[in-house]
């Protein structure tokens, strides 16, 4: 019996020691939360340098995009300690700042000499500031991203197709400069037989569940003249959201969906778009810039076969693109904020940022993107720069999720299900958004 007690005693001590050592190991290990996508893999690679320099281990919690917002907003709302660092979506900044999820970084930036003026202006406004356009920083711009287009350069350069296109539309088949041209190109390729395979015009965002169709529609609406609100009277949306120009933009998006997308593409977002392009189904493909390095490297459609172009201009020559991307923040519920800030300091270093770009991340540091060698550094670098110069973002209000769900429903009902008119959809959207802001006490 005594032996049995001794055995249990030893096991207990061993278990306690094990727990103790586990806790000790955790003290020098940070958990970084982000979406599961290609740049996340690049960040894992990059972060090895941080561990080598500081001895602080890095653990990663990556969640697929479809569950990314649900998972991490739940984590933040429940004041969870899973994430020490989080690369949160740009639209979360308002809610996360107002609800105390993120640590305010102004004092830290001042202390460490990190200047926001060193980063691309649009990314600072989009990823770091709340309220917008005020010097209150809650994140360091981490991953620049924007919606742009890729196209099949090899198909566009075929002489027989060029000849036929010129005869039909009167201009040279090339990357479109306006949305009108984009639709003509898409129509030209729709149901065309190329190398014995039926292909389609374009892959665009139509996803219903999270944010897909809103990102796609907005990407077009901005260039047609859509405005979120009266610039002189915040939250006044009547006549701006549902302006004549916005209606035309939404009608255009539906026309593009109806005429020129692959069959069954009623719920497409980033992954489905990449699949459609990689499998040689479409001539053009709307997607965030983060997909470009992967497409460029792809054996079937990459290299010389793929080209990139910025979002085309609308009927009045206005040209904007939907901002993507994220900033990196320190979670206020983390017990390891000091180590997390060390990571941010390390990440802001120009050399690290250069390496970040070379590994497939999209740096927001001016020293990297304004380097004269940058446009030639990758085939898509020039398009990325052009696109980042024309970005606009969705609402970043604390109620962004309600605002987003309203637009998802209105746009999908009209564009995909074909219910009602564009005017009715946008009028409905104004009503929905007004209700949200009334609930928030902002109207």
């Amino acid at each position: 019996m005594k032996k049995l007690f001794a055995l249990f005693g030893a096991l207990g001590v061993a278990a306690t020691m094990g727990l103790g050592s586990g806790t000790a190991a955790k003290a020098s290990e940070l958990t970084l939360c982000w979406a599961a996508w290609d740049p996340a893999n690049a960040l894992v690679e990059l972060s090895k340098d941080f561990t080598a320099q500081t001895g602080i281990g890095m653990k990663f919690e990556f969640v697929p995009w479809t569950n990314y917002a649900d998972r991490f907003l739940n984590e933040l709302n429940s004041k969870g300690k899973l994430c020490d660092l989080i690369i949160g979506d740009s639209q979360w900044i308002g809610g996360s700042a107002e609800n105390g999820h993120y640590v305010k970084l102004n004092d830290f930036f001042d202390k460490e000499g990190i200047k926001m003026s060193d980063f691309v202006d649009a990314t600072v406004v989009g990823y770091s500031e709340w309220p917008k356009n005020t010097p209150n920083y809650w994140a360091l711009p981490a991953m620049g991203d924007v919606v742009g287009w890729t196209y099949r350069k090899d198909w566009f350069s075929r002489p027989e197709l060029q000849k036929e296109f010129k005869e039909k539309y009167g201009w040279d088949l090339d990357a479109p400069k306006t949305f009108d041209q984009l639709k003509q190109v898409a129509e030209f390729f729709q149901n065309r037989d190329i190398d014995g395979k039926k292909v389609y015009g374009a892959s665009i965002y139509t996803e219903r569940g999270s944010e897909g169709i809103t990102m796609g529609v907005m990407d077009v609406l901005y260039s047609f003249g859509f405005k979120y609100e009266n610039p002189d009277k915040p939250y006044e949306m009547e006549g701006f959201v549902n302006s004549e120009k916005s209606v035309k933009g939404l009608e255009f998006y539906k026309a593009l969906y109806d005429c020129c997308t692959p069959p069954g593409a009623s719920n497409s977002y980033m992954g489905e778009g990449v699949d459609a392009f990689k499998s040689g189904q479409v001539a053009m493909h709307m997607n965030f810039a983060f997909t470009w390095p992967g497409l460029q490297k792809d054996e079937a459609v990459g290299g010389d076969k793929v080209g990139f172009f910025a979002n085309p201009a609308g009927p009045d020559g206005e040209q904007f693109a939907q901002l993507g991307g994220q900033g990196i923040s320190v979670v206020s519920y983390s017990d390891k904020q000091e180590d997390a800030l060390k990571y941010i300091k390390w990440f802001a270093n120009p050399d690290v940022q250069k390496k970040w770009w070379s590994l497939g991340g999209f740096s927001c540091l001016k020293a990297v993107v304004e380097d004269p060698a940058f446009p030639a550094s990758q085939p898509y670098a020039k398009t990325f720069l052009e696109s980042m110069a024309i970005v606009k973002d969705f609402w970043a209000e604390p109620s962004y999720a309600s605002l987003l769900q309203a637009s998802q429903k209105r746009f999908h009902d009209y564009v995909v299900a074909g219910q009602g008119t564009a005017k009715e959809a946008l009028d409905g959207l104004v009503a929905d958004w007004t209700e949200v802001f009334e609930d928030d006490g902002k109207l």
């Binding site: 917002a69 649900d70 907003l73 739940n74 709302n77 429940s78 004041k79 809610g95 107002e98 609800n99 105390g100 996803e207 219903r208 569940g209 692959p262 069959p263 069954g264 593409a265 009623s266 719920n267 189904q281 604390p398 999720a401 309600s402 987003l404 769900q405 429903k409 999908h412 009902d413 009209y414 995909v416 299900a417 074909g418 219910q419 609930d439």
Partner: protein, 322 residues
């Protein structure tokens, strides 16, 4: 005379005590039989209180507030019945309810008809019936996540097997068969998958019902020279009816809260065509984070299911007592 619940409880306690081996009773000295019985059921009751009753009471309380889980620092205001009134006056709520009713009605009709037919055939005990029973049961054994994902591929207009079969039968091009994108077809695409998956379950219950009918009743009917048709309408169907109704109850409750299959196949789309009540509830609760509002919505759904199920159970009892 009806027995009170305390009398029933006392009897149950006594029965439990009687079944407790003497050895245990002797070891737990100082505790009455009633106390021992309570000790045994206490963990279950605590668990029930913690994961069912407490959240229900909390949800009822939240449903009268403006609480939002993503705004922990905002003061929680009591807004009375405002959430309930907004939900019941919202046209979208009724559209979601219609979509739910359409889904529940057709899945129950199809599953009951096909399930009973299959059970009737299997009950004939033909050669290899055991093998076919196993094959028919396979869909029910799969995870809904797996089923949803592979049916999404089956429905794919360009590469999907379903589209090829329909195209072969109808002569339409496969790219015209867009089950998940077409507003008219999308609700049926979900009904087909749910029927495919859960008809075996209905079949099993019906089979139990059919096998519970004593052979001598049929033998008596044979003696009376009742035709097969007459036997079916006068013996088989009435005696299997309580089982069929039980299957309908189970499938009705299950499908009223259907979420996973719809979420995987259409996500509620195209537009809001397949947005059943549970999808709306999920969007309100975990995408818009309107916790008070979604609690009220959940209570409304709970009351609806509970009320309908109670009426149904009363009818079922009446049928059984006939």
């Amino acid at each position: 005379m009806t027995e009170t619940s305390s009398t029933l409880l006392d009897r149950a306690t006594e029965a439990a005590a009687r079944r407790t081996p003497d050895g245990i009773a002797k070891r737990v000295r100082g505790l009455s039989d009633r106390m021992v019985a309570w000790l045994f059921i206490a963990p279950t009751i605590l668990l029930l209180l913690a994961i069912n009753i407490f959240p229900l009471i909390w949800a009822i309380q939240l449903s009268f507030t403006n609480y939002r889980a993503n705004r922990p620092n905002e003061p929680i205001k009591n807004i009375g019945l405002s959430n309930y009134s907004r939900i019941l006056n919202d046209a979208d709520t009724w559209i979601a309810m219609q979509a739910t009713a359409h889904f529940v009605f057709w899945t129950i009709v199809l599953q009951t008809v096909i399930g009973f037919t299959l059970a009737y055939l299997i009950d004939r005990k033909f050669r290899g019936h055991a093998f076919w029973t196993t094959i028919i049961l396979v869909p029910m054994m799969l995870s809904p996540a797996v089923v949803g994902n592979f049916w999404r591929f089956l429905y794919e207009p360009q590469i999907g097997l379903f589209a090829y079969i329909v195209s072969f039968v109808t002569g339409l091009p496969t790219t015209d068969i867009q089950m998940l994108s077409n507003v008219s077809l999308a609700p049926w695409s979900i009904i087909i998958v749910d029927t495919w998956m859960w008809t075996p379950y209905v079949m099993l219950i019906c089979l139990a019902g059919l096998r519970s009918i004593p052979d001598y009743i049929y033998e008596a009917a044979e003696v009376d020279r009742a035709s097969n048709w007459r036997q079916f309408w006068s013996i088989t169907l009435p005696m299997a009816l309580p089982f069929i109704m039980l299957a309908v109850l189970f499938r009705g409750i299950e499908n009223f809260k259907m979420f996973d299959m719809v979420n995987l196949l259409t996500g509620g789309g195209p537009g809001s065509t397949t947005e059943v009540a549970s999808i709306t509830l999920k969007r309100e609760a975990f995408e818009k984070w309107r916790t008070g509002y979604s609690s009220a919505f959940a209570i409304i759904l709970f009351v609806a299911v509970f009320g309908l199920a109670n009426i149904y159970v009363k009818v079922l009892n009446r049928v059984k007592s006939r």
